[in-house]
Structures are given as C-alpha cells and as structure tokens.
Amino acid sequence: MDRRYDAAPRLDLTACDREPIHIVGSVQPHGFLLTLDAGSLVIAQASANAPAAASAGSGLDAALPELVSVVRRYLDAPPTEDHGAHYLRTVTLGGDAACQTYEVAAHRVGDLVVLELEEVADPDVDAGLDAHSPRLRAFVQRLRLARSIEDLCAIVAEDVRSITGFDRVLVYRFDRDWHGTVLAEDGNDTLPSYLDLRFPATDIPVQARELYRRNRLRIIPDAGYVPVPIQPALTPAGKPLDLSQSVLRSVSPVHVEYMRNMGTGASMSVSILVDDELWGLVSCHNREPRRVPLQARNACDFLTQIFALQLFANERSAQAEQRLALGAVQSRLLGFMAEEDSFVDGLLNHPDDVMALANAAGAAIVTGDRCRLIGSTPTETQVRTLYDWLASRPDEVEVFAEESMSELLPEADAFADRASGLLAISVSKRYASYILWFRPEVVRTVKWGGNPVKAVTPGADGEPDRLHPRKSFEIWKETLKGRALPWTGPEVDAARDLRTSVIGIVLRRAEELAAMSEELQRSNKELEAFSYSVSHDLRAPFRHIVGYSNLLKTREGANLSEKGQHYVDTIIEAAFSAGTLVDNLLSFSQMGRHTLNRIAGDMNALVEEERRKAMRDVPAERKVRWEIGPLGRAHADPFMLRLVIENLLSNALKYSRDRTESVIEFGRLPPKDGEAVFYVRDNGVGFDMAYVDKLFGVFQRLHRVEEFEGTGIGLANVRRIVERHGGHTWAEGKLGEGATFFFTLPLRGEDI
C-alpha cells in the first residue's frame, strides 16, 4: 500500500475510490467480533482477539452462554426501524482479576448474525441514555433559537464535544461537488483550528461517503492500533464479510495516515443526513487515543439527527425566505419597468435591485445594438463574447445558469475574476436580447476565519504532507479555479420570473405598438384618401378660377375698366397662391408617406445640381456669390435630401435678393454626436431670434406676403425630412444681418 504513495498525490487519492473499505477483513482491537449462523448459533468466524472458547466452529451456548438468550430474542424480534448495529446488553466476561465489561451489539449480514463485543473502559461511568437527556433537552431548546446554519452547527459542535470530551469537534458541510467546508468548530486549543478550511471531494472517497450514509457513526479510539484479522477470512458462503454496519470495523490505512498527519490519536465522525442525503459530517478528534462509550455515541447520533431535522426545516425556510425576498425585489423591478417606456430603462435606473435579484456582483443588459453594464462585470467586448456565445447556442433555454463559464467557453478564463458564474435569460428571441448576471470566481472570495498557515505541518522533506488539510486546501483551490458560488434554486427561479415579466411587458408593448400602428395605418390611409381628393378636387377649382380669369383678362379685357382689370388680376393672384398652397401641402404630406431610401452619395454634386436649378429663376442681372465648401458624402434619401437643399437655397436666394451682392455659403462642420452637420448661410434680411421657434412650423411666416412670397411650408418640409432621417435642424440669425440654417444627418460607421 505504501508504495502507491510514490505516484502523484492526486492519482493516489482517487485510487482510494476503488479501495474496498467495507470488506477490510479486520477489526480494531478495542473489542472482538463473532459471526454466527442465524439458525444454529454456531460461530462461523471470529476476530483473532476473541476468547479462545469463541473460535470458529463452536456453538454460542458453549462459548458465551450469557448471550444466547439476547441473541435469540434479537433474532425473533429484529428491530425494524434501523438496519445498523443494535445494542443488546452489557456483559462482563472473565474471572475476578481479568474481568472485562463489554457492550454487545448485533446486526445481520445475510444468514449470519454479527456480534460485536466492545470493551467498556469504565463501566461505572456509563449511566445510559438517561444521563444525557437534560443535555439533549437543552440542545433542542438552543437549536430553536439559532439564527443561521453556522449557529446551528456551532451548537452541535459544542454539545458533541461536551458529551464526548474530544479535543476538537468540527462540523462540515459538503457542497454540490462534495467539496467540504468547515462551518463550525469547538475545541480546547490542543489541536489547530480548521474553521473555514475547505476540503476537496477527494478527501472522502465515494465509497466512504456511501458508507457514511449507511452507517451514521464511526469511531477510531486509537489511530495507532494494530488491525485484528477475522478468521477465517471468508464467510461460509465463501465471501468476504461485509463490515458496513460494524462498529469495530477496521478503517483504511490511508485514513489512519491522514489522522496521524493531522496529529490526532482518536477520531469519531457522525454523518449528518438531510433528506437521506449526506449533508455533512460532525468530525471529532483527540490528540491522545480516546474511547467513547456506546451510550455517549448514541447520544451524539441522536443529537445529530435532531440537528439534521432542524437543518432541513431551516434550509426549507431559508429558501422560502430567499424566495420571498427575491419576490419583493422582483415586484419592485416590475413596477420600475412598467413606469418606463422601455423595460431596459426600468432596470438600468435601479441597478442594485437588478443585482440583488440574483445576488450577483454585476449584470448586463444586452440587445442587438447596445450593451449596458451594471456593477462588477467583464468589459463590454467580453460581455459581447458571452452574448454571442449564448445567442449561438442551438438549444435555447429560458434560463441559463452556470458556475464555471471557463469550462464551457475557454475565452471566459480571461474574466474568471468577474464572471465565472453566469446566469442569463433571453428576453427576446427575435432581437436576441439577454439579461446577464455575473459572479466572481469563488477562490477569491473565500473567507478565512482560521489561519491556514498555522495548520501547515511540514513533512520530512519540509513540504506539507500530501495527506494533510493544508495540502487538501491546495487541491481544493486547484479544483475550484474558475468557479463561482452556485446559483441557488430561488435565484434561478427569480431570473425565470423576471424573464416572464419582461416578456410580458415586451409583448404588451408590442401589442400596443401593433394597435398603434394599425391606427396609424388607418389614419394614413385616410390621409392618403384625403390628399388624393384634395389634389384632384380642390386643386381643380383653383385652376379653373385662374384659367377663366385669365381668359376674361385676355379675351374680354378690352371691355373691362381699369378697376375691373385690377380685380381680375387680384382674383388670378389669389387663386394662384391658393392652388400653389394646395400643391405645397400635398408635397408636405407626400413627404411624410414617402419611404426612406438611404443611399450614400456626393453632397457637393447634389448641391451643385440644386444650385444651378435655383439660379434658373434668378434674373441675370442679379449678383450672387456662392461659397460652397467641401461637403463630403452623406447617407440619405437623395430625392428627399434634394428637397431640403432646394428649399434652403431658394430661401437664401429669396431673402437676400435686396442685397447688391447676395453671398450664399454652403458648408460642413466637424461631426457632432455621430452626426454630420451642414449649414446654409446667407447675407439676407435675417430674422429676429425671438421668432426662431416659428421658423420651422407649417404655415409659419415671419414676413408679409408683399415682402416675400411663400406659403410657409418650405422649412417645415426641411425639418420633416431631416427628422425622418434621424437628424435635426436649427437656425441662427439676426434681423438685417442674414441667417444660417443648420441640419444634421446621422453618420454611418464608414462615414465617421
């Protein structure tokens, strides 16, 4: 066995998994073991330290006649509730001088009865379970008052130590992966403190855990013991004897070495079973060898069982409490989300609640185009990596929970300190939107109550022994790298509930939007029908008025007085401007319905075209100086952008026509907030900034018609077109000193 230790330690320890510890074939020397045929009560096997009379082949009635009746009674009415070793009675064997008192326990293994006679060190001290009942009663009282699992464990440690008198009692708990954490400790400082130490799953191999589950209590009164073989080694059925339920069972040599390395001469452990699962252990150690009477052990077992029940109840209520607490957070968030236009804002404005919902250190809300971070998170690029990975997963689940992301996604190793744990919900499949929560690697968050350095006991070569808690911690740290605290059931459920709410909100919004867009479509249709009839039915009469008045003027003009001619002129003018107004109105409404068709193009070319067009209506004698700067490219609907330029240029020409020389400037400013900024400046009549708000309104005019003709729609069209492109418009001017009109167009990535 010792040779195996020469290989790598981890291999050694996992080799333990295969060690058949329940059929070791030997017992500890503080008692002896007999197996009897259940029918004849003939001794089949006996440990080598049994009295000479009790050897294989002899009948029980001859070897130990005082036990025949209790064994018979045990066999006739076996205890049903417990399959473990059953205490039968206390007997004293031998003559006056060499007399030894034993506690006799029996259990069945197939056709055999296993009798174990354990030596009682001081028979007078033993006062039965009754001696412990006041302590047990007090214990139950204290358990009720305990507030946390740690408190409960501390009470158990304290009581077990006072019942058994061990130097140190540890209570430790297994996690999901069977790594153990010491939650409570009671001791007299003879042995080092292990509080908060962690043990890797390999410290207690699988079959030992299974044994611990089946047999709740083990004791090794003297780690320096010499195992006593059972003879013959095989049962009459030809198999090694199963010692799972034995109280004297000899333990694995590895375990004994582990004990020695920990500096302990005696140990006892009691399994904590919650819901029939191994939850943890009460682990007792003594520097010197120590025996614990059966009744005291039973008291510890009983106490531990009560503790386990209390634990079960506490965990249930803790979960319920957590659910309640998370439920409160959840309903707050729901309220916030409902208040805002977008659920994202509802969440972003309350980052603490978002993180509290999953007890996370950070969170992110990622949609196709945006990534918003809360708390301690990986960088945006790293979050995007996670997002892409999530979105690419073929099996879409409502909630994704993982405590070791680097195992699934190697890139995640780079941000293990922030997001080893990932909890994610998909809130919109269509837009691939996710809410993510992050938890840091747990190794960095381990709490150190005790001092791990003190626990180091150098081996012969100065290195910590491989079978030593310090070494164990190193192994545990190695195993736990890149791991976060697991997401609890209530946390995962809270995330799932949030997803349901968000989807509900998103769906409701979508429905509202659909209803709104239906409404819009309807009114759009109405508007179309209206403008169609306006274009046809309202425009025609104006045309007719203009037409007939003109005919009147040209064909019957001679019959009209000067006044009459003036009247006709006025009718023509008025009807003409009304008709023009209808035309402008129509183009304005068409502008709103026209679908945007954005294409990138050369702005200078477009402006030059419009400039030439505008100049066609300018009398040849008028002086106009154009100053057109480099305008670059713009990304817009060329048809609509043309209208913007046309309007701005014709305005600039119109309002500067009284100048001896009109100066019209078209330029581009450096980009601002991701938008290209263009301006058109003239040296015309300008405007009073007090009326700047009216400039872009429909039918808003700042001049009398006699001064400047127009319907007041041009700039409204400009604003409407620019806003439809996602840009904005503004103007600056001073009365008599010209005006500048600005408009912006959003830049695309390649334009910046």
Binding site: S531, H536, A540, V546, G547, A575, G579, V582, L586, Q590
Partner: protein, 153 residues
Amino acid sequence: MANLKPILLVEDNPNDIELTLAALEAGQLANDIVICRDGAEALDFVYRRGPHEKREAQDPAVILLDLKLPKIDGLEVLAALKKDPQTRAIPIVMLTSSREETDVVRSYDLGVNAFVVKPVGFDEFFAAIKELGVFWAVLNEPPPHRGGWPSNV
C-alpha cells in the same frame, strides 16, 4: 382635312374641357378635337362602337386622358388600349390634376407616353396644352401602318 387625325380629349369636367379647348385653340391646330366625357365613351370611340360606329376608321393622333372619369376611369382606359396590339401605338398623355406619385408610377407601368399635371398657373397651363397638342398632333411621327385593315390611315 380628312387625313388629319383627330385629338381625343377624355375629360368629364366641363370647365376643364373649355379651358383645354381654349388652350388648344391657341395652338392653332387644324386637327379635329373629339371630346369624350367618360372612359366607356372613349373606348367606344377608339373601337368605333355604339354612337361612334359610323365614324371614319382613323386612330386619334393623341388621347389626352384625365385620370378620374365616370364609368371606366383613366387608368383602366390606358390599360385596355396599351394591352391591345391594335391600339398600343396610339399616344396617350395623362392630363390630370393628380400629383399622386402612385398614379404616375402606375401610368408608366401601363405604358403611358407622357404624364402631365395640369399647372395651376394659366400661362403654364396654356403653354403645356399648346405644346402637347403641337408635339403629338404635328411633330410626332406615328409608327408606320403595316398593312391589314385601314384602321390607321
């Protein structure tokens, strides 16, 4: 003058008829101007049916077609004539009040030869109609008659 092809004006509004006639008159065209008041009558004229059964077998030089017409509207007339190989070559000008883009697009899809929105201004209107008449009735060379029945003499 029997060989001069008529101009067909399809228009239901009497004011528009009068104003268009005045404008065409100003163009001093010698062509007859035939007026149909709805789409059905226009088709009857082209196909020499009903009241126009007895008319001379001669396609119009151009059809000035309003969009909104009783019975069969302008677009339907356009569609019918442009679909028929016998009448496809007749130039059709939509002459309308409508500025609706969809109408323009549809008209061109159906094979219209020109689309004119009647200007509000009188001078522009007069100029437009005059030029239209001159262009289609005088300047435009119709496709040669390829034999067969003398429908396009």
